[in-house]
Amino acid sequence: MPAPLLEMRNISKRFPGVLALDDVSFDLYGGEIHALVGENGAGKSTLINVLGGVYDYDGSIVVNGDVAIVHQELSLIPEFTIAENISLGREPHRYGVIDWDALYGRAQRVLDELQLDLDPHTITDTLGIGQQHLVEIAKALSHDARILVLDEPTAALTDNEAEVLFAILERLRERGAGIIYISHRLGEVFRLADRITVLRDGRAMSTDAKSSLDLATVIARMVGREWRIGASRVRTGEGAYPPRDIVFEVRNVRGVSFSLRRGEVLGIAGLVGAGRSELVMAIFGAFPEGGEIFVGGERVIIKHPWDAIAAGIGFVTEDRKRYGLLLDQTVLMNETLAAPKTDLATAERSMKELRIKAQSIEDIVGTLSGGNQQKVVLAKWLLTHPKVLFLDEPTRGIDIGAKQEIYQQIDRLAYEGMAIVLVSSELPEILGLSDRILVLHKGKITGEFDGKTATAEAVIACATGHAA
């Protein structure tokens, strides 16, 4: 066997409070597609960022050839043309003056090679999001890299665009390139990959040839058997509150209607881009879109987030760093942001109850671990004493221990009578905690399940629009 293009040995990476990578080894040969799979927070992105030189690390990496990484987030400049983006940072020039002919020639060659029918003079902004991703991939390939890393490349692509991508990847493989393919979509993974590595909680569980694996085995290794969400639920399946005790109702917000009773956990499942966050943002008044909202049987008009808070709605937003926290301010200030009249003793009690690990309530939130940051966001909303609590991806990017604490809190709050809407991309979370599950696909409800009887397969089928 020839020498590998890439050999990562015993890679470890620690963030404050979390061991994100624990002794992971990974290799890649020319002419293969090596898939990297795992749940959110398993360490895939961290591993790629280590490879890309974003983080320092323990362990060793040997690379034979240039590495090009296509991240999930676009790094294109919207106002530039396709060709300018492809050559960004290494524009052909003469004494600092751009050689436009060479620049457009290079872009045309790359696009031809990928058999992409795009005009390099097109302003990137005018392309669809899927086409922009293809440009991003073209940009990566124009570096003549032998190692190509793709992080969830099909998340924003239509089926047709995905087919174009798959054809490109197969051609590149034939030409001897090595490709690391990261995806949640196991169907794609099984179709494309030669080998599959499963990551879980920062450890590499296994690396096998595709031929020796089946879907069920991969899922079992991804999810793990030793912890089951909901196993420690204090709520009984029947619900402690009468079924007619409706505390919250949404009618026709973005075309979606649902209701919620006291003590109920309603899971909202769906793929990234299905419109879940947009729906809850609209309900909360962040981007009001019309429709009717009832709290405790009374119609409430929500035009701003403060209207929602006054009506008894709390909203643990997704992406805590962007929407949730003042990272350079104290735990106290963050906790009391939505309920400014909270006194110090109450805030401290809340910190203790949620087991936020900090030296003092005056610690700067940015210095805490992800799990503790998330608990601060939760504390902020619990201090508003909501009747209805929305949680959008409440466990994204935090470690298993903190996840379980959040799950216990959700369970306890529902037991105490709070109505909870849980939006999550992590199916085990939805299945383990919800009394009822709604599935969103392209902004519409495509399925509703009882939490006790729902299966992952059925929910996924609805989420991908393949329900019978």
């Binding site: 909360f284 962040a286 701003h304 987030p305 403060w306 929602a308 808070i309 006054a310 909203f315 937003t317 760093k321 962007r322 929407y323 949730g324 926290l325 003042l326 990272l327 350079d328 301010q329 200030m333 942001l337 939505a338 400014p340 009249k341 700067i364 939130v365 940015g366 210095t367 902020k380």
Partner: protein, 350 residues
């Protein structure tokens, strides 16, 4: 933060010691700079900048900026001087009212029309200057009301200075601020040695105490920091960011009115180009005092320290007869160095 605060205090002490040593002469064998008469001058000089800096802090903390305060000092001062005929109260109220309305107007354009504050207040810088040039027909208006004049230059009687100091010292000791209490005693003793505590210093102290209370103890103040720190998270936490930004600009406008009265009183007349470049002194004072232009960080005490550093440089260099040209260069370098120092010591949270 702690370390940074101390370094700025140390910087101030070093500046003072330098000027003190350089001003040693036959008449002043221990140096002129820290002589009570000069110190009183120094404090009077920093009062206008200090009042403006407290107001500017409110705006910068919320991640905004106001470039118009210099022109607005000219406008408010001019209007106060022009309206002296209607009596002192009318004159003062008009100055503060004009400042407040102009500030609120600019704040509304920033908060509700979504025009960047840099642009709105750059427009204000031109507009307010134009308005006062028009109203005054380009002429300098003398201050005629004696009390108006006294606002800028009066000294408290020694007895009332001591009485105020006693109250302050008892309060500070109760709060266990021993050093601050000692400094207060030294300050009043020195000021009394040259005649008494200047009245504008009392005005500045009142503004500073109110500003400190507003920013540190009230929900409104804390929300300004929240908005500056993360506007999106603040909005989603139910904070009415627009209203807070508008009010911050209006408060700054009111303080511009106060500063204009102090300045006009001290100079003894309102010239149409009064206040030119004062916005830069106020911004520099905030920034040297540790206020982040990215919002979310900064304190009144720091802004006052910054104003004092700026005033000390002005005063000391004048004593040494440093040329105007050199003064500009040195102040420019100090400002950039202070911010560079700040960025180097800054921790970015992700």
């Amino acid at each position: 933060m702690k370390l940074r605060a101390y370094t700025m205090v140390i910087a101030l002490v070093v500046i003072w010691m330098y000027f003190q040593i350089r001003t040693v002469s036959d008449i002043y064998p221990y140096g002129l700079f820290l002589h009570p008469v000069n110190l009183a001058n120094l404090f009077k000089q920093m009062c206008v900048t200090g009042v403006l800096a407290v107001g500017m802090l409110l705006v910068i903390v919320a991640r905004q900026i106001d470039l118009s305060v210099g022109s607005l000092v000219g406008l408010a001062g001019g209007i106060a001087a022009m309206s002296q005929g209607w009596g002192l109260a009318a004159s003062f109220l008009l100055a503060i009212g004009v400042g407040t309305i102009a500030g609120a107007l600019q704040g509304a354009l920033v908060a509700y029309a979504n025009i960047p504050s840099f642009i709105v207040t750059l427009g204000g810088l031109l507009t307010w200057r134009g308005v006062i040039l028009y109203l005054s027909k380009g002429e300098t208006i003398p201050v005629r009301l004696p009390i108006f004049r006294l606002l800028g230059v009066a000294l408290l009687t020694k007895a009332s200075g001591i009485a105020l100091a006693a109250v302050a010292i008892i309060f500070l000791l109760w709060k266990r601020r021993i050093i601050a209490a000692v400094l207060t005693a030294i300050f009043v003793a020195m000021m009394n040695a040259q005649g008494g505590v200047p009245l504008p210093v009392i005005v500045l102290l009142a503004v500073a105490i109110a500003g400190h209370f507003l920013t540190q103890q009230t929900i409104f103040g804390r929300y300004l920091y929240a908005i500056g720190s993360n506007p999106e998270a603040s909005r989603l936490s139910g904070i009415n960011s627009r209203r807070h930004v508008l009010i911050a600009f209006a408060l700054l406008g009111a303080l511009v009115g106060v500063a204009a009265l102090l300045h006009t009183g001290r100079v003894g007349s309102a010239s149409p180009d009064a206040g030119t470049l004062m916005e830069l002194d106020a911004i520099a004072a905030c920034v040297i005092g540790g206020t982040s232009l990215m919002g979310g960080r900064g304190k009144v005490a720091g802004a006052l320290l910054g104003a004092m550093i700026m005033a000390s440089l002005d005063n000391g260099m004048s004593l040494l007869s440093v040329e105007n040209a050199t003064q500009y260069v040195i102040k420019g370098i100090v400002l950039v160095a202070a911010v560079g120092f700040d960025m180097a010591g800054r921790k970015r949270y992700q």
